[in-house]
Amino acid sequence: MFSPAWSLVCFAFFFFMDHPIKLESTAITEWTERNSSQELTSSVASIMSANENPLTSHVLDTAIGRPAVGVPVTLSKYENDQWRNISQQLTNSDGRVGNMISSEEFSSSRYKLTFETMSYYERRGEKRFYPYIEVIFEIESPEEHYHVPILLSAYGFSTYRGS
């Protein structure tokens, strides 16, 4: 059973079986070297630097676990000791607004988002505590993306800086 011939056959079998594995690892190495980390870094950087939609918002009605649709959201910027309206949009079917300000106009400054939540509750025939909600915040790094959502209920809300 363990004749030299049989041993030679076994040896040859395992030797040649090893080759596909070696070839595969070589191919992986070559692929990695072709797709260099430098190329990947530059392509990712190009996506991140195009901060064309630097500020977004979102309104969620946490009492029903659904987005709040059709809420007017006004963005204002504080300039020369007064608020200047930049844009107004309605939250979409996902409760979101975006493209509120261009990256050129989005400088380090103080901003205000006003959520006209009264109309939302009036449409639902519900009472609420807040006639509107204002969130005033300061931007220091306008190259970053800022997400300023509201988690809303009729008698409470929360907000946070998202990205």
Partner: protein
């Protein structure tokens, strides 16, 4: 099985329990808690304003005590159905800690429909987020 006959009393009925009305002239209070450290925030300047004829009229300003609370912001007589605004000067707190914060201040605008009830408007505060609710 014996029936029990209720005794009639000639004594005066007990006085009714104290009601929510007449809030001891303290219909509105506020509170600031730093939920990052789980502690109240003393020393926050809070300003109460009332909307009258489309404008905000300042009623009072107070600083939160060691429990992070302010009370007696307005008298019962002045606390009529209207819109009110509480301004919380939260940035100074974070500056005292040497921390940055997203919010230069926090405004909460609310409507009072039943001034006979007590209203409590707290802020649960972090440097990059906050929440508030109508308490009692």
């Amino acid at each position: 099985m014996s029936t029990r006959r209720e005794r009639s009393t000639t004594a005066a009925p007990p006085p009714p329990p104290p009601t929510m009305a007449g809030n001891s002239d303290n219909p509105l209070s506020a509170h600031v808690l730093d939920t990052t450290i789980g502690r109240p925030v003393p020393g926050i300047l809070i300003t109460l304003s009332k909307e009258e004829n489309g404008k905000w009229r300042k009623i009072t300003e107070q600083v939160t005590n060691k429990d992070g609370r302010v009370a007696r912001l307005i008298s019962q007589a002045e606390f009529t159905p209207s819109s009110y605004k509480l301004n919380f000067n939260t940035k100074s707190y974070f500056e005292s800690l040497g921390q940055k914060t997203f919010y230069p201040y926090i405004d909460v605008v609310f409507q009072v429909e039943k001034p006979e009830e007590h209203y409590h408007v707290p802020i649960l505060l972090n440097a990059y987020g906050y929440s508030t609710y109508r308490g009692s």
